[in-house]
Symmetry: C2
Subunit: 453 residues, 2 copies
């Protein structure tokens, strides 16, 4: 029973050259996707509110807030980056544990890299290790932990941030054990927050708290030595069932980055097959709102569990409405950020179609599948079955699709020329002598030196 120590030893000592090439490339894809999401969300009201509330309490403003002009201390910058990158629910997901894995880790790493000179090689390695740490802890407690109501992105994410920052600080195994302990004892985030700003607060706070855990451990602040596996440790307290072998099985051989997925649509992933199918129907039949009478969906049971909101008034609520996803797919033939605004949700035609929809749980469907039937005003019924949804592991987004997704988000925060620079720098990140070059491409131009507080 020494999973915490064995994981800590791996995090503190494994050499960068052990990371295989395919994992490196997936890390670049994850970082590109992460950064696009952080840019796309950086001007949202949740970030503005957090800046208003906490900006005045920031320490020396040495770190960039991605996509914005203000600078903060790196702990607060980690928080803001985390909120930005998750606020649209557009970031990546590891389908085996429902974690949005890049946000807690990369939010802390970008804050760190903006105030300390680090090489891209070290950045990428710390990212890989942080990603592994959080997924391994998450895998050990999934699904009982998630089913109980924990937002696993927050609870597992704090381990990832602690691991990544701890590695960059060069702490040794005993301090890494404490860093993981201080992460464990801050693991928080309730699914009850879904549909409010507090959901995106979770990866942000995980990034900030994990960063602080590494700093505290480095300074000799002690924690329990068996934080993950002890009878009153993370797994036992926060999951009715767990499999601790998953923390360490195949360390350095199996990488969860290989099973990372990227969302084509900025909403709960379980809605994706429905949206994918509705867009296909839109395209095949040239649908307009006026032609649609009623929508009937058959979906995996989890969809009803997570995304059953139908009478909604905000864009944020729309992300948790499979009905809204169906309506925008059918009417607009797309589901990008513009389809998850308050305006889109309150559009009368979208609303009418959303409220016409019926969704039945169907045990025979996987979470990648959906059956859609649309009754048109002329009485005709058009149907489709989605067997694999775009963005899942069997039908991944291509590098080019990820670039397109990046552009669609980044233009909300950056001038166009910076957008293309940032894309190029992400693809060659592990060759950079100073990740600060990428950070500078990812903040609002001339305002990059401003401070708040």
């Amino acid at each position: 029973m020494d999973e915490t120590r064995r994981l800590a030893e791996y995090l503190a000592t494994s050499p960068p050259e052990d990371v295989p090439d395919d994992v490196r490339h997936e890390a670049r894809r994850s970082i590109l996707n992460y950064l696009g999401c952080a840019l796309g969300g950086s001007r949202e009201p949740a970030v503005d509110a957090a800046m208003r509330a906490l900006g005045p309490y920031s320490g020396p403003a040495t770190a960039a807030v991605l996509g914005r002009g203000e600078r903060l201390d790196p702990l607060h910058a980690s928080l803001m980056n985390g909120i930005s990158s998750h606020v649209h629910d557009y970031d990546d997901t590891t389908p085996g544990n429902y974690i949005h894995p890049s946000s807690p880790v990369a939010s802390a790493l970008f804050a760190y890299a903006s105030q300390s000179r680090i090489t891209g090689g070290d950045f990428l390695h710390a990212f890989v290790l942080g990603f592994e740490a959080e997924c391994r802890v998450g895998n050990a407690v999934f699904p009982a932990h998630y089913d109980a109501g924990w937002h696993i992105t927050g609870t597992a994410g704090v381990f990832g941030a602690a691991a990544a920052i701890g590695r960059l600080r060069g702490i040794a195994t005993p301090q890494m054990v404490w860093a993981l302990g201080l992460a464990a004892t801050q693991a928080a985030g309730l699914r009850e927050m879904f549909g409010s700003m507090a959901k995106s607060f979770h990866p942000g706070r995980a990034a900030q708290n994990g960063y602080a855990a590494a700093l505290l451990a480095e300074a000799g602040f002690t924690a329990g030595e068996h934080a993950i596996e002890a009878p009153r440790g993370f797994a036992a307290v926060q999951a009715a069932r767990s499999d601790l072998s998953r923390v360490t099985a195949g360390l350095g051989v199996d990488y969860d980055l290989r099973v990372n997925t990227y969302k084509p649509f900025p909403c709960g992933i379980v809605n994706h097959p429905t949206i994918d199918g509705c867009i296909q129907l839109h395209d095949a039949h040239g649908l307009t709102a006026g032609r649609v009478r009623q929508v009937r969906l058959k979906v995996a049971p989890l969809v009803k569990d997570l995304c059953n909101k139908q009478r909604i008034g905000t864009g944020l609520e729309g992300k948790f409405s499979v009905y809204h996803g169906a309506a925008v797919g059918l009417v607009r033939g797309r589901a990008g950020l513009d389809e998850y605004t308050d305006q889109a949700v309150t559009d009368p035609e979208i609303r009418r179609i959303r409220e016409s929809a019926v969704a039945d749980a169907d045990d025979s469907l996987t979470e990648d599948q959906a059956r859609i039937a649309v009754e048109l005003n002329d009485g005709a019924v058009i149907e489709t079955f989605v067997e694999q949804s775009l963005g899942n592991l069997r039908k991944p987004m291509t590098d080019g699709q990820l670039e397109e997704k990046f552009r669609g988000q980044a233009v909300r925060a950056l001038p166009e020329a910076q957008v293309e620079d940032a894309i190029g720098l992400c693809w060659r990140i592990d060759g950079l002598e100073d990740v600060g070059e990428l950070v500078r491409a990812a903040v609002a131009g001339s305002a990059a030196a401003e401070t708040v507080g």
Copy 2:
């Protein structure tokens, strides 16, 4: 099912004059006891380590750190105050829920009062409300929540800090609902950390996170509206069984402050009857180490569960060793801060007697009781039975005993004249026009204007 809203409404709107006189006096006793603990712990290595790690990230240094010279932003000051006040495990306890209730609330309030001018009346009222909020949330989930492995001082404490700071900021009921939600979704702290510095981190982080929750809510950062009672809210996720009626039953009539208790000894409260009895045997028989051959204890089963450490090397571990408590009580006739140093724990005679001791769980004993038998070197056996331990609700510490306890701790941080000033100001706190007067008495004299970072 609107416990969160009803609690929030009470916290946001109940008038100060509703607090009865006996509750006011208990609040003064709690504040005095809290402040003594914060002063007594303020120079401990855990606080030094946290200052080293996080001081450089502090925002504008507007707030005092109790007992020290440095100033920090009020969020970081809340954290440090929380660590200081709990590091000796000498702070108060509500026996019905095992919460150390003053630390999370008062740690935030003292930080707030050191950077914003507030009256003692407002301070005391916010303290009463914060205390109620955390105890009511804790009562609803106790004992299942604690038994599962949660350090309830951290998990419930964050609600108390959010409530107290939210009240001082004057936020209305809807924002208080969000503040409680942001508290709920940060509720963390594992009992696995007991015996390490991370235990005292819990009330500190609860104070800091609750403070931030109030600021965020005030700025319009939204959270789930049913954070306590929802199917994926705090009670359901973090306790196998709960009684939500306890959140609101008797609001404004019943006060948990009336059942607060103060520790005569700076260690786990379940050790107290054993220590009390051992001191009685020391005094009655003029015991010295050389006369003691072996110690036999009968204790409530929880003692074995919480404080069964016997082979120990640090003062911190001593707090969780009923055997160590017995040894110092028998040999020294007292168990103050000096009996919980590394030096005391490694004293050869103390160690010999500690390691001679046997403790058996006895179901017939309450947690206020202990049976002690000591075999002397001449073969005689002396015995005692403790029916009520000093400091419990039936045998509370007097105001004078609390002052003595305060003095014994405060001299570690303050000149003697300041100690007496601080005691006087605590007793008349609700008459102060500016609590800053008390704060100034509670920081290290001439160094009070220094900053770190």
